[in-house]
Symmetry: C2
Subunit: 659 residues, 2 copies
């Protein structure tokens, strides 16, 4: 006697994506509650089961929903915000400042709903997310009816949802406790990356994940620079480092793994870790080519992810799986690498296993949840259809199917899309709300872009520090005489330094922006060797605050130190209209003269070759103090052999740009 | 007073894609006849022109139609036929045999119409094609209403549309004469590639193109192997070689250029040649990464092509332009390489210039033909929209738009798609007809795949040659004694050879298929050095035709010589279920004994180590002759010291596979 099921889907080409890649045509799938109870040839399934509801699939392809193994779904709201930039400029110049300003539970909810709509339309039934306010991601995902692994992010820096990492850890614990056991959501913790976490964070996160037996998500070896820094700072590559911190006490899902070697792959394998490969993001950000074929050969569970829609710029797993297959071939110089059936396995069964959700989803097998999709394999752009080989349908899906060929999507036994109509979400409403956010972000960035100072502040991390100085500068012919005169009585030398200073001045079309100076100071030791290097950024305002007798100036500058990024970074971020390099040799003394401290600089300008200058400076805090110091400066100039008739009121940058 | 136009398109974000990348929002375009007469801000265009028809574009993006700079449109009918194969297996094993069997004017017409439907749906208004029966491609393209550069292919081999290249050249002349000056079609000639054409073909094709002042299309430096062979055979890379053949007397469009150096780029530049970059095809076939950014830096006109849909597997220029941008970044390790505006220029203005059609199409400028499209930039997968920077819309199109976002397409002033409805083609009819072809091709290949012999014949080029032989083989202990005995009177040695023979036998699940032997013969000279190598394929039938006294056998074998491809090729093509390698040293004599010629082989089997064998063979043509020779063979065996009690009736492969 036939058994009862809730629903039978029949008259389909069923691609089970199970380990043996069974396929049935015509095939059928029986669903009871939220689970699959039978998969097989249509006649067998319909012989074994009857169901109140029977759906004729009209010859379409029925397969497990796609698995997006790594993304940051709320970042749909930042899609197309900034492109064609280097990772550091993109992150520090755009993503982080905007996230600091805008990311909230409301932002996260809307971004997640928008993402879910796109994911459903492109046949994704399950995704792995890492973001802030992950509680809101989980709630919105349930609203949309999708399955997800949701990772609460932990960072060593302040985050939009936590002033310190202890707060993030506590929030993660709370989040995991509340959501563990949910039908659709698997909570997890996501220490962002080894370079953005302390060893303590990595250890604590792993312990938390192990305590609750939930997966841990992180970014591993995304760029060559990350690996280089890790080797320099810790003497080992990234995987051994995180192993040392106990990360593999947890079930890990490691995103990217672009720059790992075979030994690291084996470590991941023995740790039972999964890998999420993100081909679009890796190409677009020029991170490199992940060794996917080798990881698969080693036996790793590799899934495919879109990464966040701000670096892709979409959530389309059809494009992603195609690109994974393309890139694997091109990089290995072997067109038989990552063939279509295997590529599609990555986007389904292996992806679910990489996420540690292989028992629930990723293939059409009795006992797994009913997460499935219907695809039309015969639209115009995928016609005609060859049937000679069992691999033909996989090749059709991987090499020519589009997201728009997905017609129906079921998650956990419930339809979320039928005949390309979304059942759980209102697209127009989401689009309108998203556009409002985009408008506000546009205004925020446009205001910021109007001022170099605002852009500098937007970078965050750097400290603004104003100072007022009296200063005088005279051209001199004989530097040795100045050095001798410094030895005379009444001048006490507190300390002496020797620098090579390499400056690059950024100028802008609007001269009221002033000059932004990037300075590399090489400290020179007594033997003439370079003892150290530090880089600073200084925004030099155009205005003089005042002037005293003998061209002693009162000037103001804003120091934004240190310059943590490279000159290249600042160039791409600030987009100066001109750049002026100035190199000089500087002897610098801190002296006490008449109970007042002065800095004395003896500069020899090499590029451009402007000659020798003596500069005397002293910090000040009031006009009265400034007047007093101005007169002392004039005395000192004379004592050191400089002539007050030779004073120069211009900065070196003005001298250089007029030269 | 306002001037008259036929149509004004307004309320659009107009991306002109002209050299200065002008954009207008709200912008408008005025069309008169088949040409654009005005482009600019809406208020200006509508102030200057009135038109009977005014179309509100509803805020959509209006831009020039995309240019597919390299494809083989009729190959839509071979889409998904064979994937994940090496180029040679794919071409020689599948594409060429199927093309030889099926390509006809009817095939070409249907494939072109199917392609045009897909091209229109993905916003392409103009493409460069190279195929056979190009007349039929041109006619079908006109039927669909698209613009194309149509190249009649010329090859040194017989082609589906010409028994010899002289016929192709004559057909090309005829085709060019008839179509030159057509509003939509620019005829051209397409010598397939330097390695598939003789120098004479390249010269004649260039002269023909120059005579009629039409472009010439060809494939240049697609694979590293091509360049390697060219260097070995002609002592120079590909571009200098084709230059030497006078190719640049014509206006050249060079597809691929994956493996060219900067000197070759400059040669192309000075020759006024255009380049068609095909990222999907280059990745999928693992051809390599074309140096696109460098070509652009040198100043070349680079377009983007999909290549044929059998190696892509679609004609989607949105995916292609995105991939071009991605790959350029990844390969140069620079995410700022080929930014979105430049990538989109390749797919429009620069593509048209590369095709030598820049005066007609590729940008929205007064005087150019009205080839334009409307795109919806605000679907779910491309929301929200940022407007802060002029580059935002290009990034939206390049990084997130899909073919399905194109709503309207106009070519030469005529709509071919409105609101996603095709106006010139019946999709259902095309799909049904295409499916019929696929069915016939499936049957053809399935029949072929049933027999190793048919697969061998399907490769073409190799000659089938049956032979009957009498033969006997005996195991011997003392090879030197055989050599001495050969010097005895009555045996005349006609010639002697020494070989190392490296055989690989392919076996199949069905033993009635026999063994397919791949043999490399190394000829050894008197000094023991390798004097030459040749490779042959032999299909060894399982059946013995007869047997005589003393185990003298009558056997039949089919020689399919020479083996022009590598062992790897045959392995991937024939997919044997087992492989058995046999290496031996062979001394071979042709002798005359009692007025009859015999081959005498003295074999020493090294792998597997089976010992020494004496083989005597003679070709035969009748049972009577065979009986006579059988008795002579028995005599000879005894004279040479072999024992007729030691005869072996098995082939080496049987001995080896039983060993």
């Amino acid at each position: 006697m036939p058994k009862n099921a809730d629903l039978i889907l029949y008259n389909a080409l069923v691609l089970t994506m199970d380990e043996e890649m069974h396929q049935y045509e015509p095939g059928a799938v029986a669903v009871q509650g939220n689970s699959i109870v039978a998969v097989g040839p249509e006649s067998e399934v319909r012989g074994e089961y009857t169901a109140a509801q029977e759906l004729d699939c009209g010859g379409k392809t029925l397969m497990p929903g796609l698995i997006n193994a790594h993304t940051h779904v709320p970042m749909t709201l930042l899609r197309g915000l900034a492109d064609d930039l280097r990772l550091d400029v993109w992150l520090q110049g755009y993503m982080w400042p905007v996230e600091r300003e805008f990311v909230s539970p409301d932002f996260v909810r809307l971004g997640t709903l928008l993402a879910c709509a796109e994911l459903i339309r492109s046949g994704v039934t399950c995704f792995a997310d890492m973001y802030f306010f992950e509680e809101a991601v989980a709630a919105a995902t349930v609203e949309a009816g999708l399955r997800a692994l949701c990772g609460q992010t932990v960072l060593k820096f302040p985050a939009p949802d936590a002033p310190a990492f202890e707060d993030s850890l506590a929030a993660a614990r709370d989040f995991i406790q509340r959501w563990k056991g949910h039908a659709l959501i698997t909570p997890s913790i996501a220490p962002h990356a080894p370079y953005t976490c302390t060893p303590e964070i990595l250890r604590s996160a792993a312990q938390l994940a192990a305590e609750f037996d939930v997966p841990l998500q992180t970014h591993i070896a995304e760029t060559a620079l990350e690996v280089e820094n890790m080797r320099r700072e810790n003497g080992m590559p990234v995987v051994p480092y995180v192993k040392k911190q106990g990360l593999f006490d947890a079930k890990v899902l490691a995103a990217h793994c672009v720059h790992i070697d075979e030994g690291e792959m084996r470590t991941l394998l023995h740790a039972g870790a999964g890998v999420a490969h993100n081909p679009s993001s890796n190409l677009k950000l020029a991170s490199g080519f992940a060794p996917v074929q080798k990881m698969l050969d080693v036996g790793l569970n590799v899934g495919i992810g879109t990464d966040g829609p701000a670096s892709n710029n979409d959530l389309d797993m059809f494009e992603e799986v195609r690109l994974a297959a393309f890139v694997a071939k091109a990089v290995s110089n072997n067109p038989t690498a990552l063939p279509a059936p295997q590529a599609l396995s990555l986007a389904t069964r292996l992806g679910a296993q990489a996420m540690h959700l292989g028992h629930l989803t990723g293939s059409l097998e009795p006992g797994k949840r009913a997460d499935l999709i219907l695809i039309d394999l015969n639209p115009l752009h995928n016609a005609p259809r060859f049937r000679r080989e069992a691999d033909n349908p996989y090749a059709q899906i991987v090499y020519a199917s589009k997201a728009s060929d997905v017609t129906d999507v079921m998650v956990d036994g419930k339809w979320v899309m039928r005949a390309q109509r979304l059942l759980t979400l209102d697209e127009d409403e989401l689009l309108a709300a998203a556009q409002e956010y985009a408008h506000r972000i546009d205004i925020f960035l446009m205001e910021r872009e109007q001022s170099v100072l605002s852009k500098l502040i937007a970078l965050g991390g750097s400290m603004e520090e104003e100072s007022f100085e009296v200063q005088v500068k005279v051209k001199i012919d004989d530097p040795l005489r100045v050095q001798q005169a410094l030895q005379s009585p009444g001048i006490e030398i507190i300390r002496q330094r020797h620098y090579h200073q390499h400056d690059v001045y950024f100028g802008f079309d609007d001269p009221s922006q002033g000059w932004l100076r990037y300075r590399e100071d090489e400290t020179i030791d007594a033997k003439g060797n370079i003892a150290g290097v530090r880089a600073r950024l200084t925004l030099i305002g155009p205005a003089r605050e005042g002037q005293f007798g003998h061209d002693v100036l009162l000037s103001r500058s804003r120091y934004l130190a240190p310059a943590a990024n490279s000159l290249r970074f600042y160039r791409e971020y600030f987009k100066p209209s001109i750049e002026v390099p100035i190199d000089k040799d500087r002897l610098r003394w801190l002296v006490r003269y008449k109970e007042t401290e002065f800095f004395i600089n003896l500069d020899s300008l090499d590029r451009p070759p402007l000659g020798n200058y003596l500069e005397i400076k002293s910090r000040t805090w009031s006009r009265r103090d400034a007047e007093h110091k101005a007169s002392l400066v004039a005395e000192l100039i004379t004592r050191l052999g400089g002539s007050l008739d030779e004073t120069v009121t211009q900065d070196y940058i003005d001298l250089a740009s007029n030269a």
